[in-house]
Symmetry: C2
Subunit: 345 residues, 2 copies
């Protein structure tokens, strides 16, 4: 059977209507919805066909139809084909000061969630190479040193260590030079025993300090896994959609959103098999996360350059407003791009 124009119109009408109400939609409703061009009986026949073709589903014999995953898929693909025809402006300039990436990401997630009325998640950039770029030792208190470590991508980490021995300002300066000349540009793997022992030798009396510092630096560089965070926002928006808000489902979904480990899968997948635009839509079971089988998930990948990539996701009911979500995400990508391009110059 073929999906002629009328069938498409009706299918779209069904999906649109269902997205608004969340209730199964019947033939009469559609008949009115499409300007009474066809009677309910005609619609019924078409609906029967559409069901046979798998685009819509009847939850039970005497109810209207709801879109199947296949139906949503059709609808989404349709939208994905259309070019961005308008670029809506996101109100606030979200990035005021790049001071704390973490805060920016949180704010971004919050914005997304409140704009769309769905749940939003955003992962911080993932670093793939971890070359050490810069180390700075500073004395803060008499016996406390501050270690500032900068790795490629300008990720900055601070560590405070307490030392036992005395060390003069001059010695500290020398240590700084020593560390930077020897370590900069190296990855964690390249800082091997040879390098370390040579460093210690050169450090002389302060080999203990060097040891301490190296340990911390190693920990810091390695720790990027710990530091890899996913922020969520608007999780409770799901209560706005009755089909998701019964205790059982809500609990499951919210738990998943809270224990961000599971979301990693989404991030991973999004990074991998991305489409041309970097935008992915998972409908129901298509999602790699089990708890989201009754939801739709839209992910987008952003790129900060220097190999830093992160993922933004919107989680909502299957009847989410795909047009709006896709528009918003595309828009956001554009703005992020612009912002970071500007930052880089």
């Amino acid at each position: 059977m073929e999906l002629d124009e009328r069938k498409v119109t009706i299918l779209k009408a069904i999906i649109k209507n269902y997205m608004e109400t969340g209730e199964p939609v019947g033939s009469r409703t559609i008949s009115k919805y499409v300007n009474s061009k066809w009677s309910s009986a005609t619609i019924r026949n078409e609906m029967s066909d559409l069901e046979e073709m798998g685009y819509i589903i009847q939850p039970h014999t005497s109810a209207g139809r709801i879109p199947s995953d296949k139906g949503y898929r059709f609808y989404v693909d349709q939208i994905l084909l259309e070019k961005d025809n308008e670029v809506m402006e996101i109100k606030e300039l979200m990035v005021q000061r790049m001071g704390r990436l973490e805060l920016v990401l949180k704010a971004l997630a919050k914005n997304l969630a409140s704009n769309t009325n769905y749940a939003a998640m955003i992962s911080g950039p993932q670093y793939h190479r971890n070359k050490l770029k810069f180390i700075q030792l500073s004395r803060v208190d008499a016996n406390k040193l501050l270690i500032v470590t900068v790795v490629e991508g300008n990720i900055i980490k601070n560590t405070m260590v307490t030392i036992d021995e005395e060390i003069s300002d001059e010695e500290l300066l020398n240590l700084n030079i020593l560390l930077n000349t020897n370590l900069n540009g190296l990855t964690i793997e390249e800082i091997n025993l040879g390098v370390i022992s040579r460093l210690k030798e050169e450090a002389g009396v302060h080999r203990q300090v060097v040891d301490l510092v190296l340990n911390e630096v190693a920990a810091v560089i390695k720790a990027d896994g710990d530091d890899f965070q996913i922020y969520t926002s608007g999780a409770t928006n799901i209560f706005k959609y009755p089909e998701l808000s019964d205790s059982q489902k809500a609990s499951e979904l919210l738990s998943t959103l809270e224990h961000t480990e599971v979301l990693q899968e989404l991030v991973g997948e999004a990074g991998g098999n991305q489409s041309e635009t970097g935008i992915q839509v998972y409908i129901g079971d298509e999602s790699p996360v089990q708890a989201m089988k009754d939801c739709s998930v839209v992910t987008a990948t952003y790129d900060l350059g220097e190999g830093l990539k992160g993922t933004i996701g919107i989680i909502g009911p299957k009847r989410m407003d795909y047009e709006k979500v896709l528009r918003t995400l595309r828009n956001l990508m554009t703005q992020l791009d612009a912002t970071f391009k500007k930052e880089e110059r």
Copy 2:
């Protein structure tokens, strides 16, 4: 009427039982529960008295009794009187590396939540005085400077700025010295126009850089409001308690936990009228947060020295296991204290 020993025993039995089951408890249950010393009829009479005295409530005529807020209050006060008789050890040494306070707090909240099966919140330390302790400028890229600012309490902030002009290593060193000698120990209020203009004068050609840096520093010191974060964990634990998990209540409560602004009130109140031990228990309506009127909230204030105080809170059903929660919190306080005392030496 007087609250004699038997009434107390029965009241405790009712509360304990209700805490376990979450169901109204009847006279027969209690009769069995207290080792059949008294018959159900006797219990009934006593329960009738207890109800008259306001310690328990009958949700409807033909149901058992549940504790009223007053009943819980009695029970909690009882526990608060008892001395810590055991010091349970919290498994992991929660503070491995104080690298990132933020991560520690998050981990702590997570631990608390999973140990207690209630929701946990924890606020970062609030800074009251903000003396600048140390500034460090470092070159990271040809035209990028890293500003590390340390304020009292060893709170470290990083900012990256892009500069237009050339600046040599030596000049940078001089700038560092200039900034530190002039600014250290000052609060934001003390860094007034006079200080600034003098600094600029001394900086000579690099007054622009000084300007840039001062702006950032000011922003950073001021920003502690932004930075004041509340972390929550285990919010979805509330689904474990049927009396909280209907869609309506759950939604309200979870939203509140998500939009942490409201939680500020808890923090504020906890900081203020704290009891001797720094532990506060809010039962039902006693809570300053409206959405928690069906919950109990236990807060504890921790003290990191240097005027840094924060709040830890547990949010659960009224029938929460107060003994366990109080024990856990007391314990945690002790450990935190120990950890930070150790850190300080």
